[in-house]
Subunit: 237 residues, 2 copies
Amino acid sequence: MTHPYASDYPIFYVTVDVVLFAIADGSLQVLVVERGEEPAGWALPGGFVNPDEDLRDAAERELAEETGVRPGDLPLEQLATYGAPDRDTRYLKPPAHARVVSVAWLSVLPELVQPQAGTDASSAVWRPVAEVLEEGLTFDHHRILRDAVARLQAKLDYTPVATAFLAGEFSLAELREVYEVVWGRELDPGNFQRKVRVADRIVEPTGRLRSSGRGRPAELFRPTVRAADVWRETGSG
Amino acid sequence: MTHPYASDYPIFYVTVDVVLFAIADGSLQVLVVERGEEPAGWALPGGFVNPDEDLRDAAERELAEETGVRPGDLPLEQLATYGAPDRDTRYLKPPAHARVVSVAWLSVLPELVQPQAGTDASSAVWRPVAEVLEEGLTFDHHRILRDAVARLQAKLDYTPVATAFLAGEFSLAELREVYEVVWGRELDPGNFQRKVRVADRIVEPTGRLRSSGRGRPAELFRPTVRAADVWRETGSG
DNA sequence: GCAAAAGTGTTCCAGGTACACCCATGC
DNA sequence: GCATGGGTGTACCTGGAACACTTTTGC
């Protein structure tokens, strides 16, 4: 058998891994896939970059495959690139002699979509981030997830990304819960109201109300920017 | 002729590019190399990642080759990874069929070291960032430089990276000039004093004085953290 | 009425900005 | 002395934190 590609240089496989967050049951969740083959265990969803595909496009494709969401409808930010020589030893032996460099991406979904049993019949499930960080992930995905959580917490401060966790119209109490879950601490409801209402480019009122059962009905809001645009990219492509 | 490496997958070449900043003549400078071969023009210093080398190690090696500074003595932060399929077309033709993915890094030097005429006899020179951004760079290096400047400006706010632009002991006026040059605006000298003195983890007094000719002599300070440690990495490896 | 959740008002404090002012040197 | 740059004091403003209080619903 012959190999269609040949090189005078060592082979690098380039992959993308996606850290996909959502909120459910009052805690931050991450989509992970169960690996049957060695190394067995849980891992982040990801895959090879196609020959003529931009890095961002590869991440969008992975995201769409896992969630069924149309590419371009979710926020997607480049996190970092991980390429220690021994981070994935699966292809080190002949004939590939390849090491794997992975570009990690960060995204947010407004709800727990049922993971698609896609072309690769992946067994993707949502799990609480806290549990996953405790039990670990294969490869260096534990580190990637840690970095992703830190980035998400930081970006909540100065981008409207929190709105990407919510679908359609939402109350400020629901938005506040996003911040509380991601930051792991409670916020003052009154101060939160003012801050979000006054801030430009986060939410705008719809004029409609919704009652949550008991208590005064809440005003409803929608995001000022599309979910896919909550992050202004600095680097990618 | 045979090629030692073969693959069933398309070939990716993985490189590192380094955006190296310094301050001279009252403006922000960047180290660029002149390319003789096509595409001719100015480019960022960079090169291939070696087979058994971590990405960070490759960036440190490039940095050391260009500056002569010992690896590990300079701050080095991963910026982003750039991998558009057409960003470097030099190897697209047979037999390589390779595209190039580049991991960009950001560093700061305390002075204009004479660029080393290293093994590759590179013709590296320092040039003002403003000029370079105006005239452009080859490949997508213009975009990388823009992203790097934005990152540097942001990090100045909440990391002690400004001290990495200065060698040995320095006055607060010298440190203030770093901020003024990078941010492109003047700062109030009095307020700057207080803020930097009060802030933890930026500078500590040496107790010595230095006269700049006229006026009251200035107290001298040294960085609280080593230049190589001014950035706490979130992602790399 | 009472409980609960939404939303507003008010007070306090920390940190930034503007700018007046004093200090220590060279000439 | 005067000019020059280093360094301090102070008044003002803004934005966040704490928390009392009012509004609007279900029961």
